[in-house]
Symmetry: C2
Subunit: 406 residues, 2 copies
Amino acid sequence: MATRSWVDVRDGSDFPLQNLPYGVFSRRGEAPRCGAAIGDWVVDLAPLLGDPIFAAPSLNAFLATGRERWDQVRRSLTSFLSDPSHADDVEPHLISRQDVTLHLPFEVADYVDFYASEDHATNVGRMFRPDAEPLTPNWKHLPIGYHGRAGTVVVSGTDVVRPCGQRKPPDGLPTYGPSQRLDIEAEVGFVVGVGSPQGTRVRAEDFAEHVFGVVLVNDWSARDIQFWEGQPLGPFLGKSFATGISPWVVPLPALEHARVAPPRQDPEPLGYLQTTGDTALDLALEVELNGTVISRPPFAGMYWTAPQQLAHLTVNGASLRTGDLFASGTVSGPDRDQRGCLLELSWNGTEPVQLADGSSRTYLSDGDTVVIRATAPGADGVRIGFGELRGTVQPASPGGRGTPAR
Amino acid sequence: MATRSWVDVRDGSDFPLQNLPYGVFSRRGEAPRCGAAIGDWVVDLAPLLGDPIFAAPSLNAFLATGRERWDQVRRSLTSFLSDPSHADDVEPHLISRQDVTLHLPFEVADYVDFYASEDHATNVGRMFRPDAEPLTPNWKHLPIGYHGRAGTVVVSGTDVVRPCGQRKPPDGLPTYGPSQRLDIEAEVGFVVGVGSPQGTRVRAEDFAEHVFGVVLVNDWSARDIQFWEGQPLGPFLGKSFATGISPWVVPLPALEHARVAPPRQDPEPLGYLQTTGDTALDLALEVELNGTVISRPPFAGMYWTAPQQLAHLTVNGASLRTGDLFASGTVSGPDRDQRGCLLELSWNGTEPVQLADGSSRTYLSDGDTVVIRATAPGADGVRIGFGELRGTVQPASPGGRGTPAR
C-alpha cells in the first residue's frame, strides 16, 4: 500500500492519507452531506462509495453501523486515495475545501464532560479551596464528570455570544449582566458510534467497539457565573451557552500510532476501571489567542483515560446512544505554558497572559479569536491533525429578546 | 360546549374531556403513533384528524408546530369528543387503553433538573451540612439546576435495574457494588415544544409560547453513589441510570384552572426572574410504595416556578430545542408526609417508613414498585389527572455484560 495519496497533499497537512477524518460539508446551494478530508480536499462520500448513508446531513447513521463497517469504509477510502489507478473515478468527487462550509459532523445525543487532568484539577483546587487538599477525596478513585448541554454544541467557526447571567462580587449582592470572566477550556472529545442497552455496562476493553473517533472540544466557560451557581449541583449556565467542536471526526484507527501507556495510578482503581496496555493518546494540543500560541497542553499525561471514562459512564447501567460525546475536561500539563484554560494561565485573573500584539489578557475580550489545534503521531511517520477549532467572541446582548437587563 | 364527552368517562377518571393529554401508543403488531387520552380510551389522532404529523412515533413534530396549532388541535379534539353528532366519525378511532402499550411520548433533547423546593433543599442541607446554613448562599437568588442524562429518560412501566457503582463508607475505602440507598424523587416536568436560537433568551412571560405541557417525573437516585461522586461537579452516575416520566403530556391549557400565585420571594429576585400573576400550578402529588401512599407533596408551594426556570435556563443564551425537558426537582412540602423522596422521608435512613403490609423501608428494596400520581383542578369543576408514573426495582447486575464485579 502506498504511504502517500496520489491526491496532492502538502507536507504537514493535517489530513494525510493516514488520517481520513469524517465530517459534514455543503457547497453553496446544496444540502449538507458527509465527506472525508484529504489534504485540502473533501471527498464526497455518497457518490464515490455509492452508499446513501453518506448523503445524510450527519454522520450518525454511519456511526451506528459499527466497527466492521467503519473498517470497510476506511479500507475502501484508503484504496481509492492511494492507488493512482482510481484517480479517474475519484476526481469528480473531490471538492476544494475552500468551496465548502463545514457543519456539525454529528447530532449530539448526550454530552458528558470529565475532569481528568490532575494538573488542572489541582490548580483549580489550589485557587478555590486554598485551605484544603487541592483534590477532592474522590478524585483519584473515579473519573469525575457531569452532563453538559448537548443542544449548544456548535461546530468550529461558530461565533460565541458573551453570555449574561448572575455573578456575585465577594462583598455584595448578585447582579445580572455580561460575564466578566469568559474563558475557554481546551479538551479532547470522544464520539460514540455504537450504543448500549440501558441496564448493562460497557467494559473499558470494549472501547473501540463503541467509540468511533475523536474531536477537539472548546468548553467555553463563564467563570463568574459558574462559581456563583456551582454549589451544590455543579456547573450549569456557566457552561451551557456554547461548546465548540472541531469539524472533522478523526477515526480511532488513524490514532493507532498515537497510543501510549497512561500514567501510573495510585491508588490502584477499582476493578471496572483497571486497564492494560497503551490506552492513552499522545495528542499535542495548541491553544492560540488572537494569533499568539498561549499554551501547548499535552494530552498523553491525563490521569484518567477515555476507556476508563467510558467504563465509568456506563457502570451504573446508563445506556449509550449513537452521537454521545464525552470530553476529557481541560487538558493541562504540569508546566505553566501547558495549562488549557485562562483561569489557570492567568491564575484567576492575577497574572495576565501576554499576546504578540503587545496586549495582555486575563479573561477573553469581545472580538477575541481562539483556535485550538492538535496533532498526533500517525502511521508511516506522518502527523495526524484535527483541523482547527475556531471561535470568536461576540459582544453580549444583555437584553436578549426585548427584555431589559436589570 | 358540553362539559362532558359523549364517550363514557367514569367519574374521577384522570382523563375527562377537559384534559385531553397526548401520548404515543401502539397495538400489538402495529407501529407506535400519537394519541390522546379520553377516559379509558385512546384516540388515534392521525386518521381522526387526517394529519400525518400524528402518525409519527413521537410527539416532537407536533410539539414543534407552536401554540396556534396546539390550540387548533385541542379545539378540534374537544369538538369531536363533546358533540355527539361526531360519534360515528370518532368511534372507529377509539381504542381501549387496555389494548395498547404506551411509549415514551417524545424524544428528549436536553434534560435539566432543578432544585426548586425550599423544604427539600433545606432538609438536604440539614442532613448533609448540619453545621452550616441549610441553603447555599445562591439558593434564593437563582433556581439551581443541572443537566441530567436525556438518553435514560424512560416511560412509566419501565423497570429500573438497581445501579452499581462506587460508594464509600464513612471510615473505609470506596467499594464497587449495587447501590444500597436507592431512592425516588417525585417531580413535575415541563416539555418544550418551540425552540429558541442560541444567543437569545426566552422571557418568563413567553413561557406558554415555548412550553407545550407537563409530565410527572421520577428522578431515580442512588444516594450512596451520588454523595461520593458529587463534589465538585454535582450529580452524575447517582442519577444517570434512569429517569421515569408519565406517558401522557398534559397540555398547558388543561391546567389553566390550576394556576395559582407562587409563594412570595424574599429577597426579590433579579429582573429577569421577576414574574406577575398566577405562575405556579396547584398540582397535588401522591407517592405510593408497594400500595401504601407514603407522601402527598404539594407542587403549589415550590419556591421557583417553571416560568422562572425557563427564563433562567436561557438567560445565558442557551438555545431551546423541541423535546427539551426541565423538571422541578423533588417536590417536598413543609410537613413530614409531604416529602418527595425517601432520603427525606426516612431522614437519610434513620427513620424507617412504615408500609401497610407491615414492612418498613428506609431506601428501596428489589421488587419494590413506586407509583407517582397527581391531580389538578380543571375546568367545570373536574379533576385533571396525569395517569400513573410507575416503576419496579429489578435486582442489580453487578457484573454487567460479563465483567465480574470487584
